[in-house]
Symmetry: C2
Subunit: 346 residues, 2 copies
């Protein structure tokens, strides 16, 4: 069950900035969180980055991986042809029991593929789902799936809900998360065929605080803790949110620097803007957990800086310490019949 | 073809505020745009609002409709049981040639149903689509479908693209709009099954500036003029955008009023904030055109104020003056074979 001394394998070759941000990020997380990290990547590249740091007293070990998964390579190709890619090596460390979880920035498709076929899935889980922790006006909330599954069946959404509920309890410290289904109207019966059928399944789950349909505008109010959707819709929603927040910030900046008086005003308000910027700063959370695998996996943003990698690594360790994996296994097995029912009607 | 003196039927009973905003909005639009409006609704309610205005010199006429479509009524019920509902009466005015187009705030489902079955569809169009004009960092862009069709086939998305392209040329004054398909990766082959198949069709259209897949983050940069998606995804995207913009504005306000210095700063910057607020103000555009009907139809936001109704009414008149309807007819008929091909392969 929950383990006090997690070991997290970090794929330091991933993301836009590779070892230069992943090594310091992972080392910082291990130092602050008092757990062990395995730095998976090319020996020389890792050593060069470690030499710039002072890792004394930090429980860190390098595991060599000679290849790197490139962003433009197909997940299936990486899985088949690059046996020594850092993401594959990291997944094997979990499979062999040498690590409890992996963190990889960047290529989420490769992480899904290698995770599914090397680490394996929790018994009964058909599709692992990628969860994103989103800022809201109140507390953070969990949106999933944000891109692992683009064509879903109703029982997939059911399982996403079960896993996200277990996850949110641990990660957001909520005993009874409010769980909504993303749709285009609040009333039961609104939505596309997939959502209407998933609604029927979710309302049958015992011990789930299913609040029904929620709309796009409900993501950021903070009145719901988990929102379930298919991976196509979730990915559009996630990227749209990032894009809109960035555009709004840019427009505001342009307006504020447009006149000397407005500029002075902006200078006086700069503390407020700093706190505001935190709302749109993904590095605060940094990681998208991939739920449903046999082990912990956290995908960090491709543009991750060291802070974001540290945050994702810390998240993976917390996951291990709280025994979240075991809770996911339990949630899926307790609702096995309902999953089978969902498969049978669709 | 294009008509210099449009007649627009405005369903003044719709929306959250009914005649109190629809009558002044419609009258303002007719005065400024020098065209005729038919105010469709209960005689007494319209007369009461007209009495508060000075409609002298404005070409305005009241057409009585004894019933009102309520927001919680199903479109099919309104269509079947409320023959005298203002939205039905307005659609009949177009069918009978007494008006060129309708404007209705609020119940978009009822407008779609009454529009399809009373006004009828353009020959060859299977599904009318609701288009939303969205603000971006540069010029406004068109997103569709934003909610008329929750379960789509690839050839529906093809037709949405054809119509939106014709529409954007006229409404945004763009000779060659850049048209993108909303997906979760820019490369061809990314997306769900629907999007991948729609991509195959869109790239076969002649005289279409199809730029390929775009992502959620591309909506607001202004680098593309039209984005096509199914009505479920589009509606989620639209409501998410409204919700996020509102939440960001609220958080910013809270931060800026949090300390006296920040407050003074915000006061000095207030001109900049005003211009910024216009970015998130839907009343600037006000109307979502429903494309594919035999006649013009513009759905205004349920929360529309008089300014938004005026803007939607002005949009409908522009639509008539520019002959946009005829261009939609042409775009659909010129690609009839491609639509049939799309239906055959799916």
């Amino acid at each position: 069950m929950a383990k006090d001394a997690p070991i997290i394998a970090v794929d330091v070759m991933g993301g836009d900035f590779g070892p230069s941000v992943c090594v310091p990020g992972a080392v910082d997380a291990a130092r602050a969180g008092k757990f062990k990290v395995l730095l998976v990547g090319r020996h020389d590249a890792v050593a060069a980055e470690l030499a710039k740091l002072n890792p004394a007293g930090v429980d860190v070990e390098t595991v060599h991986a000679g290849e790197v998964a490139e962003m433009d390579e197909k997940p299936s190709e990486i899985l088949r042809r690059k046996k020594d890619a850092s993401i594959q090596v990291a997944c094997r460390l979990v499979k062999e029991g040498r690590a409890d979880g992996i963190v990889s920035p960047g290529h989420s498709g490769a992480t899904v593929a290698c995770g599914m076929f090397i680490m394996g899935r929790i018994a009964g889980v058909e599709r692992p789902a990628l969860a994103s922790i989103m800022p809201t006006e109140k507390n953070p909330m969990v949106l999933l799936d944000v891109g692992a599954n683009v064509d879903c069946k109703p029982h997939h959404l059911l399982q996403f809900g079960l896993m996200a509920n277990a996850f949110a309890r641990d990660m957001l410290d909520l005993p009874v998360p409010r769980l909504g289904l993303l749709s285009i109207g609040e009333e039961e019966g609104k939505g596309n065929t997939l959502v209407k059928e998933a609604y029927e399944l979710l309302k049958l789950v015992e011990n789930l605080n299913f609040v029904g349909n929620v709309e796009g505008r409900d993501i950021f109010t903070g009145d719901v803790d988990v929102i379930v959707c298919d991976g196509f819709v979730g990915n559009v929603a996630l990227k749209l949110s990032e894009g809109l927040a960035t555009s709004i910030a840019r427009i505001l900046k342009r307006e504020l620097l447009g006149s000397p008086v407005a500029k002075l005003g902006a200078f006086l308000s700069k503390g407020a803007f700093k706190r505001f910027a935190r709302f749109v700063d993904y590095a605060e959370y940094g990681g998208a957990p991939l739920l449903g695998l046999n082990g912990i996996a956290v995908v960090a943003h491709g543009r991750s800086n060291a802070k974001a990698v540290a945050s994702a690594t810390r998240m993976a360790a917390t996951f291990v310490r709280k025994g979240t994996y075991e809770r996911l296994v339990e949630a899926i097995s307790q609702n096995e019949e309902l999953t089978r029912y969902g498969k049978a009607i669709k």
